[in-house]
Amino acid sequence: MSVDLQPSGRAHDIRRRGNNLGERAFIALSVVAIAVPLLILGGLVVNTLGDAIGRLDWDFITSYPSRRASAAGILPALIGSLWLIGLTAVIALPLGVGAALWLEEYGGKSRLAGFIEVNIANLAGVPSIIYGLLGLGLFVRFLGLGRSVLAGALTLSLLVMPIVIIATREALRTVPGHLREAAAALGATRWQVIRQVILPMSLPGIMTGAILSISRAIGETAPLIVVGALTYVTFLPAGPGDPFTALPIQIYNWVSRPQEAFLVNAAAGIMVLLVTMLVLNSVAVLLRNRLQRRTRR
């Protein structure tokens, strides 16, 4: 990493003052403090890739789990994860976008809106495993959904809803107020303004939030363990009521086994998970950049 030791950030006008040894040392230390964690993460990922490379092939993706590590694959986990994020997207996105629309466009400064806002901030800080307990008590037991894909997806939906809401609100705020006024002046009703002006304008931002929430849902492990995802599944879920496993659960199962060979499987599973998330996040970044370019005009 090339390091620009010339301090410039906030204070270019006084660039020459006090540029002494102590300051240079401090800057060098700070740069190290940023670089070291990033290098550690990079090193760990490369290390894992090294462990995984021998197992990363098409068979690994299309095989069922097995007692023989070398024959085991992630097919049921992958399909389970697809079911989960599909259902989560269908449940959490409309709810989250709806809530954000109400808060931004209808709720205003009402007491209820303020209360919901504080509540969402609190929910965003609740540990994910607590959502697992909620899912276990509410969806699995009380509503009788059992340890099904649907129960898992509902749990993940509640977990990612704050992310969707917060991202959507930010996106809605980027729509300039005068556009709302112009549409209203032309006689559009509130909903017409929202549907025809606000939603199209804020769509890239909403999509960014949607993708980020999905990418969060893909990596979540703890709540699914509590809700009761299975660890050894030799069939594919055929509907939302079926038992399931998911990619992180399968990885956890392999990590908890003492045999070295299963750790290699875990490494390969991790690479599949990371690549999936990398793709999702890259799309989110591209969308965000597009949004920024457009609103800057």
């Binding site: 906030r10 002494n20 300051e23 901030a121």
Partner: protein, 320 residues
């Protein structure tokens, strides 16, 4: 809030009639459908409140069942946690000790790294470096925790065993260190925001009085941003308390009352995972323990989050 750009309604609405609530104007411009839509959207907002109520209801019902069989005196008085053994003890302290230990190690890593990063990004970094480094640091918090757990167990622990030969295969040290790396962005991001919010005039005043840049940072900027920095640290601690997979994988799932980082420990979160992975029948005391632990965990993190927001408010409205 600066971002608030709600529509100033009365504009061009003939039905406004000088009323403060033009929405209720009974013209056909707001037909029945408009109200239905508003109610549907409001219902979406209410789901978040229902979620909170659901969490409280589930945790409390099962926890009440638990405390009917185990007294609070045992829960807070006993020093052993062995609900899964033949001889059962229900003292929460071993789990709290494990949680405290891993959290303390993680915080000890995240605070210095996060603060140095925040100071550099806010006070020294050229714009270009800042635009690249800030999101790069945030990647650290985006990696799934199951991946960090694997790192801690498979890479970090063997490396540490090279340095400390007495280190057990499962230990609080490795889990805590890796968790610390994960929560660095929680400290750095919010602290950077707080530092950035310190008015330039304060720095200029200090420079004008002859303060060098480092002196200014440590005697003027940092104190002015202190409430935001404290908020970020509390948030990071809260995240570490609730973190599950890293400790479940690498710290050992063995509740014991110790502050020794080299031996296996169990945290509140890893205990919930441990019970969930086994086949514990519903309605048994073992099953209920996870909700009793869950309530404790929920209360702890909630207090942290509320505290943290208090501090954030302070730096937003008038600094320090």
């Amino acid at each position: 809030m600066a971002g608030d750009i709600t529509l100033p309604e009365p504009l061009g609405r003939p039905d406004a009639g000088g009323s403060a609530r033009p929405r209720r104007g009974g013209r056909s411009a707001t037909p029945f459908g408009e109200h239905v839509i508003e109610w549907v959207l409001k219902a979406c907002g209410l789901v978040s409140i229902l979620t909170t109520l659901g969490i409280l209801a589930v945790l409390l019902t099962e926890a009440v069942g638990f405390f009917r069989e185990v007294s609070l005196a045992d829960f807070f008085g006993d020093t052993e946690w062995t609900p899964l053994f033949a001889e059962k003890h229900f003292g929460i302290w071993p789990l709290i000790a494990g949680t405290f230990l891993t959290t303390a190690i993680a915080t000890a890593v995240a605070v210095p790294f996060g603060l140095l990063a925040a100071i550099y990004l806010s006070e020294f970094a050229p714009g270009r470096a800042r635009r690249i480094l800030k999101p790069a640091l945030e990647v650290l918090a985006g990696v799934p925790t199951i991946v960090y757990g694997y790192f801690a167990l498979v890479v970090v622990t063997p490396m540490l065993q090279g340095i400390f030969p007495g280190l057990a295969g499962f230990n609080a040290l490795s889990a805590g260190l890796v968790m610390g790396v994960m929560i660095i962005p929680m400290v750095s991001s919010l602290s950077e925001d707080a530092l950035h919010a310190v008015p330039m005039s304060l720095r200029e005043a200090s420079w004008g009085l002859g303060g060098a840049r480092l002196t200014t940072i440590f005697t003027v900027v940092l104190p002015a941003a202190m409430s935001g920095i404290v908020a970020s640290i509390i948030l990071a601690v809260s995240r570490a308390i609730g973190e599950t997979m890293i400790v479940a994988i690498a710290a050992g799932q063995q509740p014991r009352l110790t502050l020794d980082p080299t031996v296996p420990v169990g945290t509140m979160t890893s205990y919930i995972v441990q019970v969930s992975m086994g086949d514990t029948p519903t309605g048994t005391i073992e099953y209920r323990t996870i909700f009793a632990v869950g309530v404790t965990l929920f209360a702890l993190t909630l207090i942290m989050n509320v505290l943290s927001r208090r501090f954030v408010k302070r730096f937003r409205y008038g600094g320090g």
